[in-house]
């Protein structure tokens, strides 16, 4: 088992009332799954994804990731954990504007202290695999949205994570670009065995996954 959420609660206090963002969430994810999280705006999809990605905390419950109890870990260990095993893909790509495609891909490797020669090889491999060698010296602003997201996915994958978390990865893309990205996810999942959890509004996109989780007002339905 890759990860397991037991009775996760998350809330904020507003005007003397406790508003639940996540309410009693139980979830088990096996390696190799492709899960789509769906639900209306404000249902807690992104919050759930952030909790799984360890970017956000929760108030109650247990979270185990590869035999580690995340809820008992210190900030530093947590960040080491997600640095090692998780790659993120964002709706608005979130590439670093000051860096070229090639340099953006290199970033996660820098933080993992790979050697220069290794980094070069891995970046070259990734450029090749995503068919973007010709774009390696361009800056994000010079790319279309679909191309940027392609780089975003490549960056998430480069350090060989076990899990990819994608928050509405096609939200800013047109239908054709969307399809390409989803096909890519499917391929990664099936051929490379990468576990994927994506948040999406679209039934079409959700269909690519092997399992769908529906949320409403912070609850699994």
């Amino acid at each position: 088992m890759l990860l397991q959420l037991n009775n996760i609660f998350k809330w904020v206090n507003s005007g003397g009332q406790r508003i639940f963002l996540l309410k009693d969430i139980n979830l088990e994810v096996e390696e190799g799954e492709f899960i789509s999280v769906m639900g209306p705006s404000g249902s807690g999809k992104s919050t759930l994804l952030n909790v799984i990605g360890m970017l956000d905390t929760f108030d109650e419950g247990e979270y185990n990731f590869l035999h580690e109890s995340v809820h008992t870990l210190k900030e530093k260990h947590r960040s080491n954990l997600y640095k090692e095993y998780i790659g993120f893909v964002f709706q608005s790509y979130h590439l670093l504007d000051e860096l070229t495609v090639q340099e953006n891909l290199e970033m996660p490797l820098l933080y993992k202290k790979y050697k220069g020669s290794e980094r070069k090889a891995m970046v070259a491999d990734m450029l090749d695999r995503f068919n973007i060698v010709g774009k390696k010296d361009l800056f994000p602003a010079q790319l279309s949205g679909g191309q940027q997201q392609l780089v975003g996915v490549a960056r998430a994958l480069i350090a060989n994570p076990k899990l990819i978390l994608a928050d509405e990865p096609t939200g800013n893309l047109n239908s054709q670009q969307s399809e390409e990205i989803m096909e890519l996810f499917k391929k990664l999942n099936q051929e490379d065995g990468v576990t994927i959890i994506q948040v999406t509004h679209s039934e079409n996109n959700a269909a690519y996954g092997s399992r769908i989780i529906n949320l409403l007002d912070g609850r699994k339905v």
Binding site: Y82, H94, E98, E103, P108, Y111
Partner: protein, 810 residues
């Protein structure tokens, strides 16, 4: 990773040229200012340290109170040096320097006089004392024999060059024959002998051989043996008063003992001051060359500190203001695995990069500005490019500065939480506002303080320059070095008086401008107790003196050519009258005498009393003064009626050249030499002004950047307000008002501090202005106006932007 940091830093600097420019320019301006100030202070602190054994050399000062007059003298009596050498085992050698002032010098074979402004007699062990090497000549014998002298290289080159100088014969002031026995190198600009160019053998100076303890005319330097401590030396030094000074006084006033001398409130305190402290700490009345002041060093250090703080604060403000743009990057980096420390490192790398670029710009600015600065401060400083220590310090200081300026933005920005910043939850959530506001308040408080300082200094200067002095310095031309005229002086004066535009002319020993003068001790006839002594300056003047300078007679009469007895008459000022303890009317007809000096107990009758006039600087109270008839060779003052100035000058020059063809006419205007007296204040004023402008400039750069940031942060609010019907004026007003509140707080904080500090500064003047409410009001208004202009642009720009656009951004 470091390479990556530099790369990102460089690219983000280039992507935001406006902020980068503000940041670098502000920082560079501050750094350049501090660089100049540091070099200046270093130069001031380095004074006289170049002499070998400088740490063992001290000078004897005397703190004297006698006859209602208190003086700290850098000079002591002629026999002092010999006593120190003979009686004190701690003293290795002692040497004297006796200033002679300006002297006309020519080779005995030519008629061409050249004036040397600073000359002195020096003892034969002068070279030993200061560790000086002769370029030519033998240091053991060079100043041994009477009528020998040595020259500095520059002085020697005016006559015959260095190599064949030894053995040349020179004529001083057209009468005294001297032989050149050596040439020394010019003294460095930061030594107290920097202005001296000629030293004559003390052995040829009669006054130096006398054992007279009453006149203090000799700069007496001692070199202590290495094991001696200065502290242990002070008590025995004071014993000289009982052992030598009092016995000498008893020869003249037999009744005096050390006990009743002290009991009458008089004192002479001898103490030593280290050679290297003289420039900044000695406040003696007479010095070998103009001193600096430690007070100015403190003031400048503060200004330097202010400047760098301002620049640094600017940096912090602009960097955190930019954090909106960097927040996303922080979020991404964190999700990619960077921890907080990594980000802190990154931002510090960035601030270092900025600091080093600023350093380059700052050095450029310093090089360009250096000549103006030297002019302003009266120094000859250059950037020590070849000195590795300089670079080491500069690099170290820059790193320190970049860490200091960078830490707050670094910690501020690395704290961003990725979930929030990546979602773009409201730009207003960036925060840090209170700290930024405090920093702005701090910056403007400093600026307001400096404005108050500038206003007060300039007003005091204005006051000094326009103060009713009790004499008229307008249209008065001073012919200097009148001793060159010799016996033809009176004839020249009469001829000059005949020139149409010349109202009057007067030959005198002294004019009412500060100059080195001595006090003489006078007693009223029939009074011999030391409590009755009156210390009074005595100037030799002629019949036309009072009229030429418009000095008002309060009672009695002026000297008259019809009365032969006026050669034993004296005119005194109001201070002298009150020190004599009589009324003005009672003073007339009294007789006074001085046993010391050249008057030898002769009695002088008081025939007139003049109104007090300011003959020293306005820092000092007006002392007692006596005017006597006498032939003197100091200078000739010429009062000219308005208009046709140049033709009058030509006429005077003609008279001079006809009588004294071998010497050029040297003159200046009394107004100028009066203004020279306040050079220190003028300098302080100008320095204040320059750095006030600088600090205001830096503060405005920061405010400008912050206003831009604020406008951006509130884009959405502005859009909403506009959609709801707010006018451009209302929005601009709102945006501007926020900053004006901060500036207002700064003004409230710094006005009282500025008022207090400048009140302290004014204490130094006996005659001073009061700090007016309008100066404070002006400082406040000026700051507010500048702030409005700075912020207004950004506010209006934000206010006129289309609301559709601004609402889309969010």
């Amino acid at each position: 990773m470091f390479k990556n940091h530099i790369k990102v830093a460089w690219r983000s600097l280039r992507r935001q040229p406006f902020f980068t420019f503000l940041n670098i320019f502000g920082l560079a301006t501050g750094m350049a200012g501090v660089l100049l100030i540091s070099l200046y202070i270093y130069n001031e602190l380095s004074h006289d340290k170049m002499f070998a054994d400088a740490d063992r050399i001290h000078r004897i000062n005397a703190d004297i109170k006698f006859g209602g007059d208190e003086t700290i003298s850098g000079e002591t009596a002629a026999p002092m040096a010999a006593v120190l050498e003979n009686d004190f085992s701690q003293v290795e050698i002692a040497t004297r320097i006796r200033n002679l002032g300006s002297v006309l010098i020519r080779k005995s074979t030519t008629n061409n006089n050249i004036k040397e402004i600073n000359t002195a007699y020096a003892d034969a062990n002068f070279f030993d004392m200061f560790g000086l090497d002769l370029l030519v000549g033998d240091p053991k014998t060079a100043l041994k024999e009477p009528n020998t002298l040595i020259l500095t290289k520059t002085a020697a080159e005016k006559h015959f060059g260095v190599n064949n100088a030894v053995g040349q014969e020179l004529l001083l002031d057209n009468i005294n024959n001297y032989v050149v026995t050596g040439v020394i190198d010019d003294f460095p600009k930061n030594s107290l002998l920097r202005e001296h160019s000629v030293f004559m053998a003390m052995s040829g100076y009669e006054d130096a051989q006398e054992s007279e303890w009453g006149s203090h005319n000799y700069f007496t330097f001692i070199k202590l043996i290495p094991s001696a401590s200065v502290e242990d030396f002070q008590a025995p030094l004071q014993e000289i008063v009982g052992d030598y000074l009092i016995p000498w006084v008893q020869q003249i006033y037999p009744g005096i003992t050390e006990k009743n001398f002290i009991a009458s409130g008089n004192y002479v305190n001898y103490y030593s001051i280290p050679l290297t402290d003289i420039h900044l700490y000695s406040d003696a009345q007479f010095e070998l060359s103009a001193n600096g002041s430690i007070q100015n060093i403190y003031i400048l250090s503060f200004i330097g500190l202010f400047l760098i703080l301002l620049a640094s604060v600017n940096f912090m403000n602009l960097s955190t203001a930019q954090s909106l743009k960097r927040a996303k990057e922080v979020g991404i980096r964190k999700t990619l695995g960077s921890n907080k420390a990594g980000l802190v490192k990154q931002f510090l790398t960035e601030s270092s990069l900025l600091s080093f670029i600023s350093l380059l710009v700052a050095i450029g600015i310093a090089v360009v500005v250096m000549p103006f600065f030297n002019d302003l401060a009266g120094t000859e400083i250059s950037l020590p490019f070849l000195n590795p220590v300089f670079w080491l310090i500069v690099l170290f200081a820059t790193i320190l500065l970049s860490l200091f300026s960078g830490w707050y933005p670094a910690f501020f920005m690395s704290r961003f939480i990725p979930v929030k910043v990546l979602k773009g939850i409201g730009k207003s959530s960036v925060g840090g506002g209170n700290i930024r506001n405090s920093l702005v308040i701090f910056q403007f408080a400093i600026s307001v303080f400096l404005i108050v300082g500038t206003l007060v200094v300039f007003n005091q200067l204005e006051y000094i320059q326009n103060k009713e002095l009790g004499f008229s310095k307008d249209q008065v031309l001073i012919v200097q070095d009148f001793y060159g005229a010799g016996t033809k002086g009176e004839a020249i004066k009469q001829e000059v008086k005949k020139i149409a535009q010349v109202k009057n002319a007067s030959i005198s020993s002294f004019l009412p401008t500060p100059s080195s003068r001595s006090d003489y001790t006078y007693f009223r006839e029939g009074f011999t107790n030391q409590e009755d002594a009156v210390n009074m300056q005595r100037w030799l003047v002629d019949y036309d003196y009072l009229e030429t300078l418009d000095i008002t007679l309060k009672a009695g009469r002026n000297f008259s050519q019809e009365r032969m007895t006026d050669s034993t008459a004296i005119i005194i000022n109001e201070t002298a009258v009150s020190l004599l303890g009589v009324s003005t009317e009672e003073a007339l007809g009294l007789r006074v005498s001085s046993d010391l000096g050249d008057e030898n107990g002769e009695y002088f009758t008081i025939i007139g009393v003049v109104d007090n006039f300011h003959f020293e600087t306005l820092r000092d109270d007006i002392g007692a003064l006596g005017l006597r008839l006498g032939t003197s060779t100091g200078n000739m003052a010429v009062k000219i009626s308005g208009g046709a100035f140049s033709s009058t000058l030509t006429a005077i020059e003609e008279v001079w050249n006809k009588n004294i063809p071998e010497q050029p006419l040297i003159y200046n205007f009394m107004e100028e030499s009066f203004n020279d007296t306040y050079q220190a204040e003028q300098r302080l004023g100008r320095i204040f002004m320059v750095f006030t402008i600088l600090s205001l400039f830096i503060a405005c750069l920061g405010l400008f950047g912050l206003a831009a940031f604020n406008a951006e942060k509130r884009t959405k609010e502005i859009g909403v307000r506009k959609v709801l019907g707010a006018s451009v004026g209302q929005i601009s007003y709102r945006l501007t008002l926020d900053f004006l509140k901060l500036v207002g707080i700064s003004i409230l904080i710094s006005l009282p501090i500025g008022w207090y500090a400048m009140e302290q500064w004014l204490q130094d003047f006996s005659y001073r202005i009061e700090i007016n409410w309008w100066m404070l009001a002006f400082a406040g208004l000026l700051t507010i106006t500048i702030a409005i202009l700075t912020v207004g642009y950004q506010s209006i720009k934000a206010a006129i932007a289309s609301p559709v656009k601004s609402l889309q951004v969010e």
